[in-house]
Amino acid sequence: MASGARPLIAGAVALLIVALSLGSATVTALSATSWQMTAADWAAVRFTVVQSGLSAIASTLLAVPLARAMVRRRFWGRGLFLRLLAAPFLLPTIVAVLALLAIFGRSGPVNAGLQVLGLPALSIFGLHGVVLAHVFLNLPLACRMLVHGWQAIPAERFRLAESLGMGPGPQFRHLEWPMIRAVAPGAAVLVFLLCLTSFAVALTLGGGPAASTVELAIYQALRFDFDPGRAGLLAAVQFTLCAGVTLVAMRLTRDEGFGAGLGRAHPVPAPGGWRLAVDALVLGLGALFLLSPLAALLWRGVPGLAGLPSGVWVAAGRSLVVAVVSAVLASAAGLALVQARVTGARWAELAGMLPLAASGLVIGTGLFLVLRPFGAVERLALPVTVLVNATLSLPFLVRLLLPEARQVEADYGRLAGSLGLVGMARLRLLVLPRLARPLGFGTGLSAALSMGDLGVIALFAGERSVTLPLMVQRLAGAYRMEAAGAAALVLVALSFALFWGFDRMGARHADA
């Protein structure tokens, strides 16, 4: 049914990903000197799994009521609210940590409030702090995935349910719960995998060396000991962990068919009474939790804006280009993989998920070792960053696009086939318009993630390739905390603008 070109493109994309994620780890590991895991390494593995697991469960559980309230309630500024809620996910981790500290820290309003009430001060440091930060960072993602899930339940089902006299309870059981069963495990796994490779958050808020993650061990092996072999070994451990979780998740995730609705805008039923009160409370708390640190960021960043060194703006321009190019590349690659998967190629999905298991640091080092013989790497810094960022954001795109692409294929595959709608025409007339919403969201996400990424560029950077996150790091590393705060604000604003722009573009085209 598919034309010849698409699987070919998908195949090329898949090969590239495998080369980048597995190849780089192999290249890195080839210079191995020892193959021993120390007790500290195993402790790191344990802590990594525990904090990721808790973060994933907490993020997903909290996302369910929040997403539900967001989907079924209409209120002033809802659209803005929905988009703003995605912001924490787009924050560079270290910016997020400082933003959280501004609220939950020793001199933040939470502890000030507790003091007024005569309650003991709350410390953000420790496992609970790590989980809190990860929930702050990832709740928006889980929430958006669930919102999409809710929106994907055809209005006809709700109408049918209401016509059958189902109240909110039975509706939840028969329509919403199956959707949650299908979407939530995927969301939880995504959060889990994201937390698995977390490094700065776990270490900064963990409170001590007991809070070491595997990624930190990789960092240490590469940067301090220059032992790429050990890094490769640890990367393999991390990879196994990620792959195991992904496989379990694939088993847990049920692919629920909801059939096609006619795409009429029809809000999910919004019962009143105590349910309205609960939703309002959930929305209020969610907004407070997710938005107050952002407000603090704004508050602290604005004063320094005027005095920003000119290099910041140059770096910002560079970052924008890198982000847009890599996001567009990632979406094109993601679309190719998803379309290949939908027409039967299982490998395409696996290839798309592979980068989740790979460490950016290891990919970067592998590429460095491979590219080094071909000349000065700093000249390749930006292209390599584009490539790696695109690769690392691919799993999000695949996860976002796949369910909806499956739906499109199930609903319209035969009709398109019968009309001879193949190749580019099918992409243009069927796939892109039907996938506009998740594609816009995914491209925006990818752009924002790429914007905030510090990992690879730090390995390759030369004078002409300093990106904005690197600039923030440099400013903070030279006592210029105010300038760093302002530059971070610029970074966040740009990331968010990119995300917003792409997301809007998608939503507008989806208004069919």
Partner: protein, 343 residues
């Protein structure tokens, strides 16, 4: 009936326009090749940044050498050494600026460096003479606090451990000051280092991956003290006109960080490399250091130190392991730290 279709081709076209952009970027980067000889200086990020010593030193040196100075950077000293090792003999680099004495043993062992032939530094509180590495600046590690918030700071590591004062430190596995503190405790307490760490455990709010996170959190009021340098208050005093920050003098003495530069053996510009190192430790080069790197110059320039530096504490006792000792002790000392702090 209009034939326009409300789909995404316009978006696709935008994408198409961007690919040449990426290609153009690559070209632009490779066009940087110039006719004049190029001296490639490998250093850490903040050295080469706009506000670091890099630009002034580049300008000053280029005025005399008839060459172009190009910086290649890595995150910090440790990352810098990693990069040097990764590039090996194939490196374009000519000079490496910004390793410290905890790294020189490994750097020497790599066999990638050549002798510099320069005289020993004049203004170090300890004697340091290494044929491969020439010091260009130094500083004492210290706990910095806010005088308006902490009236009576502890007077020693031991007093800190016995107190309720909250501190933020850096991780020795990923940061230079973090490793400096581990060595500090090791040299001051030897076999009893683990006990001191156990005493410090309840003072430590958190351990950050790098200096900037720790310092940022301290400024946000997350702790009473932060592990930094005796020179840190100078930044606030000179650049921000803020005299509330101070470093606490500790009775055990203060561990020293000496930052060094070296010439790569595989350089294709050996003469220029020698000239650059000489310039770096000359009066002109050293005068740049205090107010850009916020460290002490290794050779105090004729003009002296900037006003404000005289307010800094000047520990009577300096602690520092030799490169070889540091190299030999590091792993065990870090393991000891880790074991003592892991609850």
């Amino acid at each position: 009936m209009e034939s326009s279709i409300p789909t995404i081709p316009s978006q696709l076209e935008d994408m198409m326009k961007l690919f040449p952009l990426a290609a153009a970027l690559t070209c632009l980067a490779s066009m940087a090749q110039a006719e004049t000889p190029v001296l490639t200086v490998m250093t850490y990020d903040s050295f080469a940044s706009e506000w670091g010593p890099g630009p002034a030193i580049k300008k000053g040196f280029e005025a005399t050498c008839g060459c172009e100075v190009r910086f290649v950077t890595a995150g910090d000293g440790a990352a810098l050494l990693s990069r040097v090792k990764m590039e090996g003999a194939a490196s374009d680099g000519d000079v490496v600026v910004g390793l410290d004495t905890n790294l020189t043993a490994a750097a020497t062992a790599s066999g990638l460096f050549a002798p510099h032939g320069l005289p020993a530094a004049k203004s170090l509180p300890v004697t340091y003479d290494d044929p491969l590495f020439v010091p260009f600046d130094w500083g004492w590690f210290a706990f910095v606090y806010d005088k308006t918030k902490l009236a009576t700071p502890p007077k020693s590591l031991q007093e800190l451990a016995d107190s309720q004062v909250k501190v933020i430190i850096e991780d020795p596995r990923s940061s230079t000051p973090g490793l400096g503190l581990v060595m500090w405790v090791k040299q001051a307490y030897g076999d009893k280092a683990a006990d001191l760490w156990k005493g410090l455990a309840d003072n430590i709010v958190t351990v950050t991956p790098g200096w900037s996170e720790a310092y940022g959190m301290f400024l946000e009021g997350e702790a009473d003290m932060v592990l930094s340098y005796t020179t840190s208050p100078a930044y606030h005093l000179i650049a921000e006109k803020d005299d509330t920050k101070a470093a606490a003098p500790f009775a055990e003495g203060h561990y020293l960080q000496v930052e060094v530069a070296g010439k790569l053996a595989a350089t294709d510009q050996p003469a220029l490399a020698d000239q650059f190192l000489a310039y770096l430790v000359s009066d002109a080069g050293q005068a740049v250091i205090p107010e850009t790197n916020w460290m002490y110059p290794a050779n105090t320039p004729a003009v002296g130190l900037p006003a404000g530096f005289e307010t800094l504490i000047s520990p009577e006792k300096s602690l520092m392991f030799s490169s070889d000792e540091a190299g030999g002790l590091r792993d065990a000392a870090v393991a000891e730290w880790q074991a003592a702090l892991a609850r």
